[in-house]
Subunit: 149 residues, 2 copies
């Protein structure tokens, strides 16, 4: 079961500039930063609200750390903007399989490492009406979709 | 103050097909539908989770009802995908002004009619690092960002 909008992933050219934009314009603050070598990004999570499954919804600002990262390619093609939409679940493997059973291609055969030590997979945008869709399971998520914190 | 991700607005060519996609793939159900003549769309709201300001987060599926609607133009240029990101606030006028004061252009001089009878404004994507950004105030939103329901 999907229990929340976990985050909106946003491709940006300069992480500090985008952080400053969201701070000055909307008052959003950085909750967490990390580098994900596998995804080729450095990122900042701006926490917007808590959710009724015990988790939170974030904006995830993503800057590429190398030219062959998917975010670098996205920026080259589209410029800055929404890169993906991520849904939170307590069972990323099961939700991915349910999507595959519905005819949607998953990008990875097994979940990979996401923000906060989460387990993630992506669903192909061509199978999701144009939206790169991420499924996220917090590292401590039990059957009730517990928060990651 | 912005208190939640209110919704992610998604441009689609056929509302029924997108509704069916989200139902079959993720189990999301239609919470509300309406036609917004001013915006030139018919839309379906899929409620994903409750938020800790007493509101909810939705996916908003948008199909154009005429060729000159912004959603029709978006589809022609970009195909289906994320059209905008909307943040919930108890004070759409004040939040819009704060953004304008920070150097961001608002699309309307006064709020317009949004989903559920809400008051909305949009911020120019070129001033928001590529993202068309909406601000939403529920019709009954008081100082605590109360839910619209």
């Amino acid at each position: 079961m999907i229990t929340r909008i976990d985050h909106v992933g946003i491709a940006c050219r300069n992480l500090e500039e985008s952080i400053e934009f969201y701070r000055v314009t909307f008052g959003f603050e950085v909750y967490h930063t990390e580098v994900n070598e596998q995804q080729g990004v450095r990122e900042a999570m701006l926490r917007i609200n808590g959710t009724d499954d015990g988790g939170s919804s974030y904006l995830q600002l993503l800057e590429p750390i190398r030219e062959d990262s998917p975010i670098a390619k996205f920026l080259e093609k589209n410029g800055e903007g929404v890169h993906h939409v991520a849904f939170g679940t307590a069972d990323v493997v099961g939700e991915t399989q349910a999507a595959v059973d519905a005819g949607v291609r998953a990008l990875y055969p097994e979940p990979r490492h996401g923000t906060f030590g989460s387990s993630i997979n992506f669903l192909h945008p061509k199978d999701c009406h144009g939206i790169l869709t991420e499924l996220v399971q917090a590292p401590d998520a039990g059957s009730h979709g517990a928060d990651r914190h």
